[in-house]
């Protein structure tokens, strides 16, 4: 079993934050306040989640778990659109469909085809696994959506040339789509390639600290990494493809009003 962290131990860990804060202050980076707010937010959010998950796990009700997953999907979707600099009002539903599709498809595969918990809706599996997949999808989707639309905006003359040379919208966006998917996938490829040597992954570490045998923890880690990677690629691609009818007008021109900062 994990050693329970006492209040004193928690305070000692928070004390470690004084080191980076002192560095920020000394270098006059102007991010001391921002950092303190972030740590406070993290603490409050995690405490609330911890309290809520206690109930979710105790009830172990599939509808309560799904409600939690739905809330995570909505928050992740809003963060993706904000991070990519795209108008929420225009893209919300399509982007939600893309992220939900990518996350649930691979998460469902991992849960119901590979692990098969009993009962199949066991909240102890469903909530953290979907949460981990979604957290990673968020990062990759912000990168892919931002890269895709800013790439087309920056290279408007090139994009228009493709259309004038006879490309369909799908053909004209292909170079930017390739760049976006590559940008979304590359960090995870590098992470997988060095995993176990440069870094010990969080899920595996958590399971070992929780008392699991290392080989058992490794199997879960491999499974979740593959699952996260597939979800990231599928969700990034799906999100871009479903957003195309909103982002371009009927003459295949990129609509400038889709961006939060209109030039």
């Amino acid at each position: 079993m994990t050693v329970d962290l006492s209040l004193q131990a928690m305070l000692l860990m928070y004390a470690l934050m004084l080191v980076p804060l002192a560095i920020f202050f000394h270098l006059q980076l102007g991010i001391v306040r921002e950092t303190v707010v972030a740590v406070v937010r993290m603490t409050v959010q995690l405490v609330l989640v911890g309290l809520y998950l206690n109930y979710v796990f105790a009830w172990n009700n599939p509808f309560v778990s799904l409600l939690w997953v739905a809330a995570m999907l909505v928050v992740a979707n809003v963060s993706i659109l904000n991070g990519a600099g795209l108008k929420r009002g225009l893209f919300f539903w399509r982007s939600l469909a893309g992220v939900t599709g990518g996350t649930l498809l691979t998460g469902g595969w991992f849960l119901f085809a590979a692990i098969r918990p009993d009962p199949f809706y066991d909240a102890r599996y469903m909530v953290p696994i979907i949460g981990m997949i979604l957290g990673n999808c968020l990062r990759s989707n912000v990168m892919s959506m931002e890269r895709f639309y800013s790439g087309i905006r920056r290279s408007e003359a090139e994009f228009t040339t493709y259309l004038l040379l006879g490309a369909t919208l799908r053909e004209a966006v292909r170079p930017y789509l390739r760049e976006a998917i590559k940008a979304a996938a590359s960090p995870s490829i590098a992470t997988m390639a060095t995993m176990g040597i440069v870094s010990l992954p969080g899920m595996m570490t958590g399971q070992i600290l929780g008392g699991a045998m290392p080989m058992e923890a490794i199997k879960y880690q491999i499974g979740i990494m593959v699952c996260i990677f597939a979800a990231m690629v599928v969700a990034s691609l799906a999100n871009i493809l479903v957003s195309l009818p909103i982002a371009f007008d009927d003459h295949q021109r990129l609509r400038p009003e889709i961006f939060n900062n209109i030039p």
């Binding site: 090139e158 004038l164 006879g166 021109r253």
Partner: protein
């Protein structure tokens, strides 16, 4: 045929053309004249649906430009700008780029046709292996023209395409584009080019006016 019917063109809130009309018939060679910023390049972009009109209509060979016809119209027209974008790393890839699209896949030219076309524009076959970033502005213009000719386009919108060309290269371009089967609507500040065109259109008082010699 290119027909402008009562077109209204506004750029950044400024009205550049107001209910202007013009018809360029098949095979005609027309040049649009006017000071910088009067709307010449914007007018060309409207023809290929790259810029929206504020009013009126543009028709190409009887097809009114709209969401349903924009693809077909783009496939008939070659638009060549002052600084053409080649859209590929190497010249050969740039020349063959449109043939990778579904619309032109079956029209892919042979090596002999590619070389023949670029040589008629006074470019040597060596250029095919060069990267687009390393060729001059004049060479880029001729590669863009060669690409349009390989696609068999019959309507050309040429925006200052001789600006970076020496006299001999300009002659070669004129010989290729002033053939009877090609309808040419151009913008040029080159007096020789304007002289070669059989119609001169001026943008004045927000209208398209025929200039008589």
């Amino acid at each position: 045929m290119i027909a402008f019917e009562n077109i209204v063109l506004q750029v950044h809130g400024k009205t550049l053309l107001d209910k202007a009309n013009l018809v360029v018939r098949p095979g005609e060679k027309a040049v649009v004249l006017g000071p910088s910023g009067c709307g010449k390049s914007s007018l060309f972009k409207c023809v290929v649906g790259a810029l929206p009109l504020s009013g009126g209509a543009i028709a190409i060979d009887g097809m009114v430009l709209n969401a349903q016809t924009v693809g077909a119209i783009r496939s008939r027209i070659a638009y060549i700008g002052q600084e053409p974008v080649l859209g590929a790393e190497r010249v050969r890839e740039a020349l063959l780029l449109p043939f990778s699209f579904k619309a032109h896949r079956k029209k892919r030219p042979s090596e002999q046709e590619v070389v023949g076309q670029i040589e008629r524009l006074r470019l040597s076959a060596d250029i095919l292996e060069k990267t687009c970033a390393r060729i001059s502005g004049g060479e880029k213009q001729r590669i863009a023209i060669a690409r349009a000719l390989l696609l068999g386009k019959s309507i050309f919108l040429a925006d200052e395409i001789t600006s970076a060309l020496d006299p001999a290269s300009r002659e070669a371009v004129v010989a290729e584009l002033f053939r009877p089967g090609i309808t040419l609507l151009s913008i040029s500040h080159d007096p020789e080019w304007a002289k070669a065109c059989n119609r001169k259109i001026a943008i004045a008082d927000s209208q398209l006016r025929e200039e008589t010699p």
